[in-house]
Symmetry: D2
Subunit: 138 residues, 4 copies
């Protein structure tokens, strides 16, 4: 294993916030913290391009008063009804909804479903979180 | 406790089906079976008019292709967002949806919410099932 | 269609409660109300013995402090993991739980699963509600 | 805004994987990609220490055969029943469970609940994903 060194340009304010964060988390140097961020992003991307079975949640926050958005999301979800195990809908207040889809399938397929939902007009926030079905972890 | 006797007119076919059912369930006479049906319907009605706290599920089966039905149901549900704890939506096939609402509140309020949903055009089947929050059962 | 007439013995108090109920519901005579109760019980039993696909909810209220009850219910449910689409669990208060299982399969299989759960020691209330997957309703 | 430059030590293999990833994502230089990772981690940490209301999901994968783990998780969850809106449980196979909790409250409180669950013996994978309740996004 060969070590390389590369430089990162960053503005002062952001760097000092990051230094506080990693100190709180118990890191003793920046390189270690940066390597962990890089590993996490690789792992997440690996899930999202996986051809083996993964399971995940797609979390959406949207305004239910947006015209026909509920209809659109329902239609999109039906197009993938075999991958979507269940959708839990929480009515947060008079307007805002939280929708949590539990999805099972190849990472790359789930990623596509997630992208379709989160890019719909009126969806304020979307987040995909993938994990293992547990079979490969003893 | 005074016993009364009243007569019931019924067509032959229905009666013989009923007789088979109650025999299977272990009843030894029809009066006993009828009294249990009457008690069950009184209990259910009591829940549905209750002013104390109950908890229940509203189950809906509908066709998601019905124009703006998802929008309508979402809007109706938001109007009662404080009573509806969560809604689980299962995409049964390309068209049909199952929606299970978990609802908490006075029986009579939940009954009204249920009636609004189940009477919406395009809802194929609706069912309200009320129960206790468990506090009153030791 | 031949009409038969049979007699029902019932205590006075129960009968007058029933009369009030059916008047409120708009029935004009008792026979009609009794026939509807009989039909409903036949329909429910038909679902519960069905060999075609049905979908249903099993609702359980139980005390989470009952020793190993959560473990037992989880184990029972895993034994039927292919029929149980999802389980939603609501923590009602410090002790009491509501659990709503969405189940898909032959009515008679779902009935058995439901009976196993509701008969577990510590389950205060159990209820099975079956319905159609909607395919047979146009 | 002053720019600073700092160095990161990393092994060759990890760096070339990272370079491929960021090229695919359309980044033109490493600094930009690293800054985005740093910003994301700050945002996530900000949620997790927030005193304003957030909403989130806690996703757990665990083996249901682990002795008394279901009991433990149920007990832990009841201790926070006011913050946990609902828990959806999916029986993945004979052994493995997915549990998705929808949680509402201050970010820092949710973080604590999440840490309790994910550190329980037998939990294979745990993930906290926080978001906004939507009120602050127009």
């Amino acid at each position: 294993m060969e070590l390389t060194r590369f430089g990162v340009s960053i503005d002062d304010g952001l760097l000092s916030q990051f230094d506080r964060l990693i100190t709180n988390k118990g890191y003793t140097n920046r390189s270690e913290a940066i390597r962990d961020l890089i590993r996490d992003s690789l792992v997440q991307t690996e899930w999202e391009s996986a051809t083996q079975e993964t399971i995940g949640t797609i979390t959406l926050v949207y305004n239910s008063h947006t015209h026909e958005l509920s209809d659109l999301l329902t239609r999109l979800q039906h197009g993938h009804y075999q991958a979507i195990i269940s959708t839990t809908h929480i009515h947060l207040d008079e307007e805002n909804c939280l929708e949590v889809l539990i999805v099972r399938g190849r990472g790359q397929d789930i990623k596509k479903i997630s992208d379709q939902m989160t890019s719909a007009r009126g969806v304020k926030h979307g987040r995909l979180s993938l994990t293992t079905t547990g079979k490969d972890i003893l």
